[in-house]
């Protein structure tokens, strides 16, 4: 770096420097993601025009020519990539074979259902996972630890799609506790579209009937989706807590006569939480992937279900759209998580 730039850079507060650096990495990752997806569209065997337009459209020479020109298929690869990225940047993901609509519109339509489902599942997973992890760590090697270990291993071992079916069979078909699949019961009208999250929209508009229906429909798929993440976060929390328990500062806190409860919740949990926050970003990414299976069983009209239907129709543009969006969300969430970590940890915040 040039001297003046360097000086200006180091004049910035460390937190700002940290955030800027993370932002730069995030942007780089996004560029990389588009490179990967571009490569994928290139390795598709057969005619990309046919693959993208479908049989009907590709038999019309005028459409094919327009398509070739729009995506620059006659130009060299680097230029094609630039065109591809420019299109993406303008929100142009191409057209879905299946719905005959722009993929971007479909994504926008289905995204909010997935976000609602995974946010609820993630909240649930964090609360349950951290709580179980604390109990396991505090009771290390005693029976609660062993029970929780088996539970958490079972959580990361159970096939989500199968668990979804089992839960539907038991709680909907046999017991009738769950209202079944979908986002709302047939009688309930969708709330006015403000955020796209039915629960929030229903709450904001005071639509209690819809709110109740939305919550009831949300509960079962969210819990099933959370199971894997609960297992993973439990095990991570236990490991992070045990790590913190071995630190000198914990012994020092005990030597000060602090009650064990305070030692655990303040001196041990706090540093452990900081690292739990960082993995929760990764866990969220995994959860979005797992949503495909849960959504397809619960007929949840989200990205996963869209990706599933697109995959069955071999609709590559739609699936690439979904994976680009999820990758972008993953990068964004991890960026936020890193920043949150920096704010929580004084060693990064003030250095």
């Amino acid at each position: 770096m040039q001297q003046p730039i360097k000086r200006a850079w180091y004049a910035l507060p460390s937190l700002v420097r940290f955030i800027l650096r993370r932002l730069a990495i995030g942007v780089l990752l996004c560029v990389g993601v588009t490179l990967v997806s571009f490569t994928l569209t290139q390795i598709v065997p057969g005619d990309p025009v046919a693959a993208s337009l479908g049989d009907q459209a590709s038999s019309d020479p005028e459409t094919v020519a327009a398509f070739r020109q729009r995506f620059g298929l006659d130009k060299p690869l680097p230029e094609q990539y630039l065109i591809y990225v420019t299109n993406l940047a303008q929100g142009n993901f191409g057209e879905s074979l299946q719905t005959r609509r722009p993929v971007a519109d479909d994504l926008a339509k289905y995204m909010s259902a997935t976000i609602e489902l995974s946010l609820v599942a993630m909240t649930f997973a964090m609360l349950a996972g951290v709580a179980l992890g604390i109990i396991a760590a505090v009771n290390r090697d005693r029976w609660p630890d062993q029970v929780i270990r088996v539970i958490s291993l079972a959580g990361v071992s159970v096939p989500t799609f199968w668990l979804s079916l089992v839960c539907l069979y038991v709680f909907f078909f046999q017991l009738g506790w769950s209202p079944g699949v979908g986002r709302l019961s047939p009688g309930a009208a969708a709330p006015m579209n403000l955020t796209g999250l039915y629960t929030v929209d229903a709450l904001l508009t005071g639509n209690w009937k819809t709110l109740g229906s939305a919550l009831a429909h949300l509960a079962l798929p969210a819990m099933v989706l959370a199971i894997y993440t609960i297992g993973a976060i439990t095990r991570f929390t236990r490991a992070a807590m045990l790590d913190a328990f071995q630190q000198d500062y914990v012994r020092a806190a005990r030597a000060k006569g602090m009650p064990e409860r305070t030692v655990v919740m303040r001196h041990v949990l706090r540093p452990a939480l900081a690292s739990i926050i960082t993995v929760s970003g990764m866990a969220f990414g995994r959860m979005l992937g797992g949503a495909v299976l849960v959504e397809s069983v619960f007929s949840w009209p989200g990205l996963g279900e869209y990706a599933y239907r697109s995959a069955l129709a071999l609709d590559l543009r739609a699936i690439m759209g979904v994976s680009l969006v999820i990758a972008a969300v993953y990068i964004l969430v991890n960026l936020l998580v890193d920043i949150l970590y920096a704010i929580v940890d004084p060693r990064i915040r003030l250095s």
Partner: protein, 328 residues
């Protein structure tokens, strides 16, 4: 000592669960006392049981640890107190400073929190009163700009400053006894002197009793009034600092001091001690020191000597006692 000592450990034996289901005895039949305003140095190699003896005063043994004997403090026997009562003694009446100030301070809690949390817990005072006290303490340990220091975090201080803060934390509740476990070992030599001077001053200003744990005989001689030497979980020699450090009578003390570099004319003489300390799981029979002892006789292999008085205020655990009148 005419008046009753502040703390008196009598026949303390500590056992820990061993790997094979048996029990290990890192501390065996240890007795020592600390008078009011006295600095007692506890020395020995690694694994001699110094630190675990100190932790027993706080009731902080490793999981599965058991103790027998007595620890008399303030008219009660700490070993018979319920855990809750010992937790009240910890930090309030007996406080501890650990070896490495880099790791003993919590990296994510502010200095203020770490200085005041136990003060508020033990005394039940409000945040403002606790802050006033915290500032007083930081000034006592010579931290410049105490009010601002409260808002900062450990990583913003140097090692020496952190150890001063750790001492301030320990002194917050005006304890009667301060346990300092290798308080200078992790610090630069130049910083060590400052911490030693501080401890010396605090003893003078506060009338504090200190149990100073160290393997550094230099630190020992700079600070302590009386010296207790441990080997393989037992006390092998006690006496005043001058007696023990200038005329050691136990062969182990003698070689500990011999292993120090000291100047003889132009030469630096250094006699490293032979062998390594035995592991507590596999002590040799008889006197545990005999395999490393220059004066060992046949009987040392059979008898484990008890601690016995050899002069007023002087006791050793050696049946041969070969060093009468030999300077260090």
């Amino acid at each position: 000592m005419s008046e009753a000592p502040l703390v008196s450990i009598e026949n303390l034996t500590i056992s820990l669960p061993g790997n094979d289901g048996g029990r290990l005895f890192p501390v065996r039949d240890v007795s020592l006392s600390i008078g009011a305003g006295e600095i007692v140095g506890l020395a020995g190699e690694s694994g001699s049981g110094k630190t675990i003896t100190a932790l027993s005063l706080l009731g902080l043994l490793p999981p599965g640890g058991r103790m027998s004997g007595h620890i008399r403090f303030g008219g009660q026997d700490l070993l018979t107190l319920p855990p809750r009562a010992i937790a009240d003694v910890r930090g309030r009446d007996i406080a501890m400073v650990f070896q490495d100030p880099m790791t003993a301070l919590h990296p994510m809690l502010s200095i203020e929190k770490q200085l005041t949390e136990h003060l508020r817990h033990h005394r039940g005072i409000d945040a403002r009163a606790a802050r006033t006290r915290a500032i007083e303490l930081l000034e006592l340990v010579r931290i410049p700009d105490a009010a601002r220091a409260l808002k900062r975090y450990p990583h913003q201080f140097s090692g020496g400053m952190r150890q001063r803060i750790a001492i301030a934390i320990a002194l917050c509740c005006e304890p009667q006894l301060l346990i300092a476990d290798e308080p200078t070992t992790a610090l630069d030599v130049t910083v060590q002197a400052g911490i030693l001077r501080l401890l010396q001053q605090l003893r003078g200003e506060l009338g504090l009793s200190v149990l100073l744990i160290t393997h550094d005989m230099g630190v020992m001689s700079a600070l302590s009034d009386r010296v207790v030497i441990m080997y393989a979980g037992r006390v092998v020699e006690t006496g005043t600092r001058t007696d023990v450090l200038q005329h050691p009578r136990h062969p182990y003390t003698h070689s500990l001091l011999g292993a120090l570099p000291h100047e003889h004319g132009d030469d630096m003489l250094l006699q490293p001690m032979r062998g390594t300390p035995p592991s507590i799981g596999a002590l040799p029979p008889g006197c545990p020191f005999h395999p490393r002892c220059d004066w060992a006789e046949a009987r040392c292999r059979d008898i484990e000597p008890g601690l016995h008085a050899v002069e007023p205020n002087r006791a050793i655990a050696c049946v041969v006692d070969p060093l009468v009148g030999v300077p260090a």
